[in-house]
């Protein structure tokens, strides 16, 4: 969705706009009029288990934001829509049909001088059905990745993370992983290559040049993307699935914070 489309449709019946940011306070500093906050961590992650919320909690999170099962949801956020893409991917696990990204995210809206407000809209809660999460289609677990070794894998982290170099100063060990490197056979395609300077997605031909021509990925082949905790790879998952029409892309949300800590899994440098 373009910013122009959104500006013209704000307030439409059947449309709910959600902001999903890395920075948990950013929404409160000003947001698209009528938009509601959806926090990737406090709303979409289970507080105890490292996993997403269950169907009941998801129904509550959606319902209290006025989102029904057939509502059109447009998500935008900071950091070139990383967290917006992540939220969209989590909504996909629950099979929400109509969920879209605002191209360029928060930065594009602001750069165009469009209206921001700190008013938090009062929402009439609606009933969202309790739907069981389906992890079998767009999500990969560690076992799935082990079984997939040899197949196309995309590592979307920075080149330094991919190569396993430690970039931190003395006294500051690389937090979050016992081992540096990447999953054997993974191609390094940093997520940002899919984005323009202004955070919007590159045109389809440019994306094809990177992912198909240069990297040799095949839209018909099952592909797995990963990063550190699954947010940047949600961005690439969106690009491959929705912009390039790949048939089956799974996001390995355990990503490097699981793989780099797991005992006995193979690591390549």
């Amino acid at each position: 969705m373009t910013t122009t489309w959104l500006a013209e449709h704000l307030g439409d019946d059947g449309l709910v706009v959600l902001e999903s940011d890395e920075d948990v306070l950013l929404y409160d500093t000003g947001h698209v009029p009528g938009a509601l906050k959806l926090d990737w961590h406090t709303d979409l992650n289970d507080p105890l288990t490292r996993d997403y919320v269950d169907g009941e909690r998801f129904a509550q999170v959606m319902g209290e934001r006025g989102v029904g099962r057939d509502t059109t949801v447009v998500i935008y956020g900071d950091k070139s829509n990383w967290w917006a893409a992540y939220a969209l991917w989590v909504m996909t696990l629950f099979g929400h049909e109509d969920v879209r990204l605002l191209d360029g995210g928060r930065a594009a809206w602001i750069a165009e001088g469009r209206e921001l407000t700190t008013d938090v809209p009062q929402v009439e809660p609606v009933d969202y059905p309790v739907v069981e999460r389906d992890d079998s289609q767009v999500r990969a677990f560690r076992e799935d990745v082990l079984a997939h070794l040899g197949g196309p894998l995309v590592d979307v982290r920075s080149p330094g993370e991919y190569s396993g170099e430690l970039l931190h100063m003395p006294d500051y060990p690389q937090e979050g992983a016992m081992r540096g490197g990447h999953i054997p056979g993974a191609r390094s395609v940093p997520w940002a290559r899919a984005a323009n300077e202004d955070g919007t997605f590159k045109a389809r031909e440019e994306l094809e040049a990177i992912y198909l021509a240069e990297q040799g990925l095949d839209p018909a082949e099952e592909t797995v993307a990963y990063c550190r905790i699954g947010e940047r790879s949600s961005h690439t998952w969106f690009v491959l699935t929705h912009l390039l029409g790949f048939e089956k892309v799974r996001n390995y949300d355990g990503s490097w914070t699981e793989w780099g800590n797991a005992v006995g899994v193979p690591v390549e440098r």
Binding site: E22, D23, V24, L25, D28, N45, E175
Partner: protein, 160 residues
């Protein structure tokens, strides 16, 4: 996090006051308080403005934050703290605001005595998620490291 005593244990006075403010309100209001602190974070003085190369980058933060630490050549080894973080990173700015309000102007010895788990004394882990707390832990660790190095350099240099 338990009693008020746990929250205050070994914290400098200004930090204790802040911790108590945070604990006196609801989780939602804690976020507002953090937002206020992000607004109150002072701008960089002229000697650092536009000179991020003179500052230390805090990689643990989600958004780029730059930090400068000065230790005065006075008896108390007074510590001054300077932070730079973009307006689009209000949480990071808020964390810096807590550390600025809590530690700026203290003697080096008191800064070094601040417990490393101090960032968890504000009831923020629940409000912003534990994952986001690493930034503040990183800032505190780097502040203490710089204070230690600069104090040692002053002593070795025969100052005061």
């Amino acid at each position: 996090m338990g009693t008020t005593d746990d929250v205050r244990a070994d914290l400098p006075a200004a930090m204790t006051n802040l911790a108590e403010d945070f604990h006196a309100v609801t989780e939602r209001e804690r976020l507002q308080l953090l937002l206020e602190l992000s607004h109150e974070l002072p701008d960089l003085p002229e000697r650092y403005a536009g000179r991020l190369d003179q500052m230390e980058r805090v990689d643990e933060c989600q958004s780029p934050l730059f930090l400068a630490v000065e230790v005065a050549d006075d008896e108390a080894r007074t510590v001054s703290l300077f932070f730079d973080a973009p307006a689009e990173a209000p949480t990071t700015r808020g964390f810096a605001g807590i550390l600025h309000e809590g530690l700026d102007g203290l003697p080096a010895e008191e800064v070094l005595a601040v417990p490393d788990d101090a960032p968890y004394r504000f009831g923020l882990a629940e409000a912003v998620s534990p994952l986001r707390m690493r930034g503040m832990v990183g800032m505190l660790g780097r502040i203490k490291r710089q204070v230690r190095l600069r104090s040692e350099a002053l002593t070795a240099g025969g100052g005061a």
